[in-house]
């Protein structure tokens, strides 16, 4: 059984101009000790789905329907009291912005201690000792000094390490990493990712890894869910997504084609997905991706495809999942046009 499972989750935001369906029927699951990578452009609902798990939505957001099962319990029905005990203890988060995610007016020690004091019955002294241990675990140089420092005195990478220390302080079952490396320099990124992987190995923590960087997904994830406009459009193991596979969603294909690879022949231009993500209040009627999809047919524009399992452990939300078929069709069309 999956450790954490989202079933048909709908999370909406009320705005002045209408209801934004940020997460519109998402289902995915994270198994114990595994990493689920969620990819998507900004606004695809990947972060919102993760925040829904902890019920940490902004004031105007709410879970409309669906289930979030954690250790067999539905978190959407949990009391506030229960949620307090889960947050930071069983499920914790690392955020994207290490610069602003730490409280600037408290020392690192105070912010770390808080976690222990909240979730474990320990003395202040013991909490400080454990905080020091955590800083050592995340390989911060000179941890005793760092404990006494304020966040603004630390570099971005260091702050993210503090965030990780804070997130892993209570050895949570699930760690939600919401673009933890986006704001960091590339070399620091690699260090942070390695650190996360190491800690995952040590503690057996499951990770929900949210990013728009396919390279990072390839490195970190066991399974991948691709999201677009509040829906999962493709879900498979990382090997399936990145390997040679006859089936894929055109959006995934577009994402793949837009990243440079070592084996890309010289002279071949990287392909960008044309257009922009539709406005959340003005979603297309049929397949949400259809307006930007080069294979889109009139059926795609009129009718919305469902997510279905095309092969074992590989789900796709597309009427034309077979890569080869799509390519052939489009070439035929081009020829036909040429003939005219």
């Amino acid at each position: 059984m999956a450790l954490l499972e989202l079933r048909d989750l709908h999370t909406f935001f009320t705005t002045k101009k209408g209801i934004v369906k940020a997460v519109n029927g998402v289902s995915y699951s994270v198994d114990a000790g595994r990493t689920l990578g969620i990819v998507g452009e900004s606004g695809s609902g990947k972060s919102v789905s993760a925040m829904s798990i902890l019920r940490l939505l902004d004031g105007n957001g709410y879970i409309d329907s669906g289930e979030i099962l954690f250790e067999g319990r539905d978190l959407t029905k949990a009391t506030n009291e229960e949620m307090y005990k889960i947050r930071g203890n069983k499920i914790s988060v690392i955020f994207q912005e290490p610069m602003t995610s730490l409280n600037p007016v408290f020392t690192v020690e105070r912010q770390l201690n808080e976690v222990f004091l909240t979730h474990q019955k320990v003395s202040r002294k013991e909490a400080s000792r454990r905080s020091l241990e955590m800083l050592q675990a995340v390989k911060i140089p000179n941890p005793t000094n760092v404990l006494k420092q304020y966040p603004h005195q630390l570099s971005g990478g260091m702050r993210q390490r503090v965030m990780i220390a804070m997130a892993l302080a209570c050895q949570p079952r699930v760690l939600i990493a919401d673009e933890p490396t986006t704001a960091l320099a590339v070399t620091i990124q690699a260090q942070i990712l390695k650190l996360m992987n190491d800690l995952k190995e040590q503690n057996g923590t499951s990770i929900l890894f949210i990013t728009h960087d396919l390279g990072v997904i390839n490195e970190m994830a066991d399974d991948v869910a691709v999201m677009y406009c509040g829906q999962v459009v493709e879900m498979a193991s990382v090997e399936t997504i990145f390997g040679e596979n006859p089936y894929s969603h055109p959006y995934t294909e577009g994402l793949m084609n837009s990243i440079p690879r070592l084996n890309t022949p010289t002279g071949v231009r990287l392909e960008a997905i044309p257009g922009a993500v539709p406005h959340p209040l003005d979603l297309p009627k049929g397949c949400k991706f259809a307006p930007r999809c080069k294979y889109a047919t009139s059926r795609c524009l009129a009718e919305e495809p469902a997510l279905y399992e095309i092969e074992d452990g590989h789900q796709i939300r597309c009427f034309y999942p077979c890569k080869a078929d799509r390519t052939r069709d489009i070439e035929q069309m081009k020829e036909a046009q040429h003939a005219k």
Binding site: L54, L56, G59, Y84, K85, I86, R87, G88, N89, S92, V93, F95, E97, T100, S101, L102, N103, P104, V105, F106, E114, V115, T118, H119, Y150, H152, M163, M166
Partner: protein, 327 residues
């Protein structure tokens, strides 16, 4: 920090001198000869010669016969050595005159400060947390009206309501006339007289500060670290009162001091209406009687209060925000 304070202090002294020159110049441009007030006017008709001599003597004793720069230096030297001159109106040294008013003003404003914060901070926090609720909307409308209404309008209204229609407070003064209370009874009578000016002063400041607290709190609540704090599993109370409020304090501290300085100046109106024997009232009577030594001393006192207020603001800001380093 120490280095900064010394630098700041030197700067304050510089400003103090600039302002004192300015004030001195303004005072000296007043029409009318203060020496006239020192001399018995009946002499002018009975014995003009002696009158002239007496006038000259008075001028000399006031130092009016010397050139302005020397007068200024003398005045400044006297002021710095604690001799603020002689009040013509009270016929006593200024330093003796200003003691009671100073105490009264500080007492009124300090009490008002405490009351204002006791009310606005919880109200502002609740309003920010329950943003856009009916409560918040009511607080918002109330505060914009509160900070728009002129002090004297509120004073008149409160006098009408609480001193005339429902006679629970005295209209003016700082002690019941004709009584000779001692000890606790006297303090009680004092507080009883202070109640209405205090209410007005507090009421007038509520709106502005409330808006400020609310805005600061809303800004703080929107920060990323609040989400982090929630994600850590902290209870909402801890998130609001510890994490968010501690950050909201930074802008609030900035406003407190500048506001405190301004209510010192603004209490002139309240003191005048309620005949509260404070600095404001004293400066008004000094002006009406052209008692230059007295109002010059008062002005300098206001300047010092403002300067010290600004210094305190810097220090408080530095304490509230660890990111700020004074240099």
């Amino acid at each position: 920090m120490a280095k900064y304070l010394i630098k700041r202090f030197l700067y304050m002294i510089f400003v103090f001198f600039i302002v004192s020159i300015l004030m001195f110049a303004i005072t000296k441009s007043v029409p009318g000869d203060p020496a006239l007030k020192m001399v018995n006017q009946q002499l002018a008709s009975t014995d003009p010669a002696r009158y002239q001599i007496a006038l000259e003597e008075a001028r000399q004793s006031l130092g009016l016969d010397q050139p302005l720069p020397i007068q200024y230096v003398k005045w400044m030297a006297n002021t710095l050595s604690g001799n603020f001159g002689f009040s013509l109106q009270y016929r006593r040294p200024v330093i003796e005159v200003v003691g009671t008013p100073m105490f009264n003003t500080v007492a009124l404003n300090l009490c008002s400060l405490i009351l204002v914060f006791a009310i606005t901070i919880p109200l502002g926090i609740i309003s920010a947390v329950k943003k856009r609720s009916a409560f918040d909307q009511a607080v918002q409308v109330g505060s914009i009206i509160g900070y728009s209404l002129p002090t004297f309008v509120i004073a008149l209204l409160f006098i009408y309501l609480f001193a005339l229609k429902i006679q629970i407070f005295p209209i003016s003064g700082s002690a019941t006339p004709g009584t000779d209370y001692t000890g606790l009874q006297r303090v009680g009578d004092y507080l009883y007289h202070m109640a209405l000016p205090l209410l007005v002063s507090t009421f007038c400041s509520l709106g502005g500060i409330l808006r400020y607290v609310r805005a600061a709190m809303i800004d703080a609540l929107r920060e990323d670290y609040i989400r982090t704090a929630r994600a850590k599993g902290l209870r909402e109370k801890v998130v609001i009162y510890s994490h968010a409020f501690r950050n909201a304090l930074i802008p609030i501290v900035t406003i407190i001091t500048s506001w405190f300085v301004s209510i010192f100046g603004g209490s002139v109106v309240i003191e005048s209406i309620f005949l509260w024997n404070g600095l404001g009232n004293t400066i008004l009577t000094a002006l009406r009687n052209l008692d230059s030594a007295l109002y010059l001393a008062m002005m300098m006192f206001y300047v010092i209060i403002t300067l010290i207020g600004n210094l305190l603001m810097d220090i408080a800001y530095c304490i509230a925000d660890p990111r700020v380093k004074l240099q």
